[in-house]
């Protein structure tokens, strides 16, 4: 039992996370390109951020005292866009414009295109540094808002990530909490085959971070970890969220082939049915 989130709220968020997964599939089918596994794997965490953790105002996305959520691995933006739409940043129908000409929902997020995405991202390894810059500025001015940075595991092969990790540790930016989507896959295969990242926890600890491992699909556990981070003042906190790539659709779970491709319309229909019926456990009004 969490002290930070009621179990009724957790249930609500789990249902919402399922809806967000459905929107991710719909977005990607409409776009005809994009990434599938990562957004599905991070649906629970983005739901927790937008509907429980973040102090934000969708109608006033540039509110100076808002918490900042920096998405470093921009390619999983379909999940962020879906969560933002449900939170009220823009109409849900707009999700269908993902990756289309003239859309605010660029293939990789752009700060100047869509208010609320905070940074332009996609090229890996540069999100943590930007989050650090925001957190450093806020700390200089005694601001109370928090900065979160969602990262992939694969981008820990990039030097920039470690330069930033060192900088954050040096400056004890306790107002910054980083979250790694530890789903073990990247474009060319499993991370430990492409370029081993372990021991990830020990590496961050050596860089003077406080590290918490969580089940990335357990909203309660994730919320607790975020609250724990708030209470630690001498160090920044890293949450290693262990997730299943493609979570919610068993036929693609754990399959790195689904890192960078979208479902076909037929696959999309099958995946939506899977999600709507919770894997056949319930009947869907859509079928």
């Amino acid at each position: 039992m969490s002290e930070y989130i009621r179990s009724e709220k957790v249930k609500e968020l789990e249902i919402l996370a399922n809806k967000i997964r459905q929107s991710v599939i719909e977005e990607l089918v409409a776009a005809g390109s994009g990434h599938t596994a990562g957004p599905l794997g991070m649906a629970d965490i983005f739901t927790a951020f937008y509907f429980h953790i973040l102090n934000h105002d969708p109608k006033n996305p540039n509110w100076p005292d808002r918490d900042r959520l920096i998405l470093s691995n921009g390619h999983i933006c379909p999940v962020r866009y879906a969560a933002m739409a449900y939170a009220g940043y823009f109409p849900v129908e707009e999700l269908k414009t993902l990756r289309k000409f003239g859309s605010r929902l660029q293939g990789h997020p752009e700060r100047t295109a869509l208010p609320g995405v905070e940074t332009t991202s996609g090229p890996l390894g540069s999100g943590l540094g930007q989050a650090a810059g925001i957190a450093y500025g806020a700390k200089m001015d005694g601001k109370k808002f928090r900065v979160y940075c969602a990262m992939s595991d694969g981008e820990h092969e990039a030097g920039n990530t470690w330069e930033s990790a060192m900088f954050v540790g040096k400056n004890k930016l306790h107002n910054l909490t980083a979250v790694i989507d530890r789903n073990n896959i990247q474009i060319d295969g499993f991370t430990e085959n492409v370029m081993p990242l372990e021991p990830l926890r020990a590496k961050y600890e050596a860089f003077n971070w406080h590290v918490i491992d969580v089940d990335g699909h357990n909203i309660e556990e994730f919320v607790d970890a975020v609250e724990e981070a708030k209470a630690i003042f001498e160090k920044p906190t890293l949450i290693i969220a262990h997730t299943i790539p493609g979570k919610g659709i068993p036929e693609i779970e754990f399959d790195y082939d689904w890192h960078g491709k979208p479902p076909t319309p037929e696959e999309g229909a099958r995946f939506l049915k899977e999600l709507r019926t919770l894997g056949g456990k319930i009947e869907s009004e859509h079928e």
Partner: protein, 366 residues
Amino acid sequence: MIWCIITAAITAICIDLMFAPLRAAAMRRRAQRQAKNKMTNEKAYLIKNLKDPKIEKAPTRDGYGKGLVDAGEKDGRIVVLCADLAESTRSHWFKEKFPDRFIELGVAEQNMATVAAGLANYGKIPFMSSYAVFSPGRNNEQIRTTISLNILPVKICGAHAGVSVGPDGATHQALEDIALMRVQPNMTVIVPCDAVEARKATTAAAFCCVGPTYLRFGRSKTPIFTTEKTPFEIGKAEVFREGKDATIAGCGAVLHNALVAAEELSEEGIEAEVINSHTIKPLDNETIINSVKKTKAIVSVEEHQIAGGLGSAIAEMLSQNFPVPQEFIGVHDRFGESGDPDELINAFGMGVEDIKKAVKKVIGRK
């Protein structure tokens, strides 16, 4: 009799004294004419004798360091980032004055760019300092994605640009940085010609732009030939010398060579117009077009690869508006090497004689 002689002598002395001030003024004028530069635009307020062998010298990075302190005093949002080169980029003067607003990142230029982007995103005005080969060299993609595409007012300050870095050699002599920065949308690119202008450029850049700015500085001591009164406005080229036979448009410390070349050409009867094109982007099209409409020929002068720098910017612009023959003074597709700054400037074809030759050649191509 004696009285007559005395009276006449006194009268003569009096007359002589009466005219003395006028005579002195004429002599002064003559002396000034000899020392003063011919045809220099008076409104440019340059130093009186460009060829003075005792001309005062300072590196443009000194102007940057002073400008940072000026800007820091004006606005508390100014922060300075540095990647283990505080003293040689002259950002240590800011560090001494405002230690709480100085951020040391160590040898990590990619991180410096991303942290600067974050600081600007939050609302600070960051200046990030390193050698130009590292920033914007090593961190070019981070500048592109997190600063230019993000449209954030980060000031990227590249020191030790050009072959005049000297003994450190090719690895430390940035010759591609103007090109790298000029091709990024939203970017302003400024190359000051001396330490006085560098100071003005730094403070002006602090408050100039919605998007990023690239400022380029040199390591070695170079002539100070502008003054406090010399106009400086980002995006506005200045005619430093008027002429009718050819235009020389230059940026950086080699602009002094261009002015000296123009003075020497004048003795041969060739009058070159010299323009200080300190802002390469946005280029001051109007001033350059107006000049070449008169001269019908142009020589670009810069301490950079001739591909992608000021000369290219001018060629791109003129070919679409008022095509004229152009000669390019700069580095011709090779890396630098160790040596003394002046020796290298001459060896790489950016000396006074090279510019004179280029002017004669371009006039011959009209």
